[in-house]
């Protein structure tokens, strides 16, 4: 009798597990991903590594390297609730390392996004404090990728390296790195959609973000290579971090049918 009860209980448990697994699986399958493409620009023109540009103050600058982390994506619904993009403690899922020199890194997907109407997107330029101090990571967060500080361990959130004739550093180098510990230079960015984005079972969207590097100098803080050739220590990096959050804008959003998403991957 006892055995039969056990058997019945086991069957019930198995059924529950299947049901739960089914639900979980269904949820994961439900909804399409949202594609994000990033273009680095200076004003309206595409950024070219090595080209010379001028700030509004007349300082010259060029970029040789531009890399940064984006993470903690959220989509705001019309009813002011949020869809939080899943991140996993076991992998670097949800953490994106954008590198101007690597075309593939400038196009990625978040989601799957539940069906609904969304009015804006939020993300972090950098890595959240919890993950920044969570030990050895893999994938985009692998410290061997070189986006990791050893003099104050933690990720380099935003890395801009170039030159400026006004820089007093050796070879007129311009070096802006933000990252590190206690006073986190990770900055949150919220961008409102001009028209709400609909995600349905058949259609998702592609967000084309522009990151305007002229705003690195002409942003919330006016940064001048003559007085700030290098920013790395927490104090100097705070202003660079503020400006890095102001680089982003939505250039356009277009509808992306399910078929197009499948092809893109």
């Amino acid at each position: 009798m006892k055995n039969r009860m056990n058997l019945a209980a086991r069957h019930l448990a198995a059924a529950w597990l299947l049901l739960l697994a089914g639900c979980g699986h269904g949820a994961a399958q439900n909804g399409l991903p949202l594609r994000i493409e990033i273009s680095h620009v200076v004003g309206e023109a595409p950024l070219r590594l090595g080209d010379s540009y001028k700030t509004s103050a007349g300082d010259g600058w060029s970029a040789e390297r531009l890399r940064y982390y984006l993470s903690n994506f959220r989509l705001r619904r019309a009813d002011s609730t949020w869809f939080v993009n899943p991140q996993s403690a076991d992998s670097s899922r949800g953490y994106f390392l954008v590198d101007e020199a690597d075309a593939a890194s400038k196009q990625f997907q978040i989601g799957p996004i539940p069906e609904g109407t969304y009015s804006g997107i939020e993300f972090l330029v950098g890595v959240d404090a919890a993950r920044n101090s969570a030990g050895a990571q893999t994938g985009t967060l692998d410290p061997a990728r070189g986006m990791f500080w050893t003099w104050n361990t933690g990720y380099i959130f935003f890395q801009f390296e170039g030159h400026s004739p006004q820089s007093s550093d050796a070879e007129h180098a311009l070096t802006y790195h933000t990252g590190g510990g206690a006073d986190s230079p990770a900055r949150s960015v919220f961008l409102q959609f001009q028209t709400p984005v609909q995600v349905t079972a058949e259609n998702s969207a592609e967000l084309h973000l522009y990151a305007d590097l002229s705003r690195l100098f002409d942003g919330a803080h006016a940064l001048r290579p003559a007085t700030l050739p290098t920013a790395m220590d927490p104090k100097a990096a705070a202003e660079v971090a503020d400006n890095s959050a102001g680089l982003f804008r939505i250039d356009h959003i277009h509808k992306l049918p399910k078929a197009g998403l499948a092809q893109g991957q």
Binding site: G135, Q137, A144, R145, T150, N152, T153, D233, P234, K235
Partner: protein, 343 residues
């Protein structure tokens, strides 16, 4: 049931074998340490739940610790500057020489009880035990390479891919596995069996002089060198220089009030870890006591508790030194599990 019976006959034989001295020595040398929290100690800061210590993982970590393959030119291992007989400090070296014989700027600290340490390095620049090795590996005056370079060398090595697979249950050499294996070794370096520890447990007596030394220690030193880890892990300026030559903690924090502040080091195994201070300027504990009794240099960031120094009579000095000797953990520095092996 039938099938397992023959094994039962082998059990007494195994027991006899295990009782033999050579077998015991073998087991001591090969057993895998686990992080056991000594009685009265706080909860460790490093959580092994995400990196469970296994015999193969620990052995891999130990092998990596002693292997110069982690340096750029294969000349410097972690163990080159962290010597077990010196409680993993670098005996007689004010600062250590790294790749190409270049000197570093700070004294090599001893390595023990790291699982309890909130931040690592003299200035607290490393916030996680697993990530600590990245600093010396990429420092041009230490191992001069990089994490990526080390991973690449290990992948191409004849032995390591197999050892990584054994340690982590699947093929693959990556930086996370490298750092976790090292943490299995460094995180289980527990030193908690000094004469002081046995005295606290009531298992061993102190001489009256050692007892006096303990009282003096608790009166004058223990507010910073807090028992049982003998550090409160704060950052303080202990008055070495009127104008600090090394900004210390301020490099990491960017705050002026941290100028010349360094992590309060543990005093465990202190008799073994000469020279002393962040720059290794003092060769002996006598010189250290000279400093605290009459050599404190005032500066804006000097720790207030040291404003008037720690004056000690000659007898008190002798007693304090006798007590500091009781912090030496002989079983730790002779623990064969932590020693370099050549298997």
């Amino acid at each position: 049931m039938k099938r397992s019976t023959p094994w039962l006959f082998a059990l007494p034989l195994l027991g006899m074998l295990a009782a033999m001295p050579w077998a015991q020595a073998w087991m001591t040398a090969h057993a895998t340490p686990r992080l056991q929290v000594p009685e009265g100690w706080p909860v460790p800061r490093y959580d092994f739940a995400g990196n469970p210590v296994t015999s193969a993982g620990f052995a891999l970590g130990r092998r990596l610790f002693y292997d110069p393959i982690l340096s750029r030119d294969g000349s410097i291992a972690c163990g080159s500057c962290h010597q077990q007989f010196a409680a993993f400090a670098h005996l007689d070296h004010r600062v250590s020489h790294g790749i190409g014989g270049v000197n570093g700027k700070r004294n090599t600290p001893g390595l023990f009880n790291l699982a309890w340490q909130p931040d690592l390095m003299w200035d607290g620049s490393v916030h996680h035990l697993e990530l600590q090795p990245v600093a010396p590996m990429s420092n041009p005056v230490e191992m001069g390479g990089s994490l990526a370079l080390a991973v690449d060398k290990l992948r191409r090595n004849a032995r390591y891919p197999e050892l990584f697979a054994q340690a982590f249950g699947s093929p693959g050499v990556d930086s996370q596995r490298l750092l976790r294996a090292l943490a299995q070794f460094t995180g289980t370096l527990v030193s908690a069996d000094s004469r002081y520890d046995r005295f606290v447990k009531g298992k061993e007596a102190f001489t009256p002089q050692e007892r006096d030394g303990l009282d003096l220690f608790r009166e004058h030193c223990a507010s910073c060198h807090r028992e049982p880890l003998f550090s409160d892990f704060s950052y303080r300026n202990n008055g070495l220089d009127a104008a600090p030559r090394d900004a210390g903690r301020a490099v990491v924090s960017g705050r002026d009030e941290d100028q010349g502040r360094f992590r309060v080091p543990s005093l465990r195994n202190i008799a073994l870890t000469a020279p002393y201070m962040h720059d290794g300027r003092y060769d002996s504990l006598e010189q250290v006591l000279d400093h605290y009794s009459g050599g404190i240099q005032p500066s804006p960031t000097l720790d207030p508790s040291l404003a008037h120094g720690v004056p000690l009579s000659p007898d008190q000095r002798t007693a304090l030194l006798a007590f500091l000797d009781t912090l030496t953990d002989e079983s730790f520095v002779h623990d064969r599990r932590f020693a370099e092996t050549h298997d």
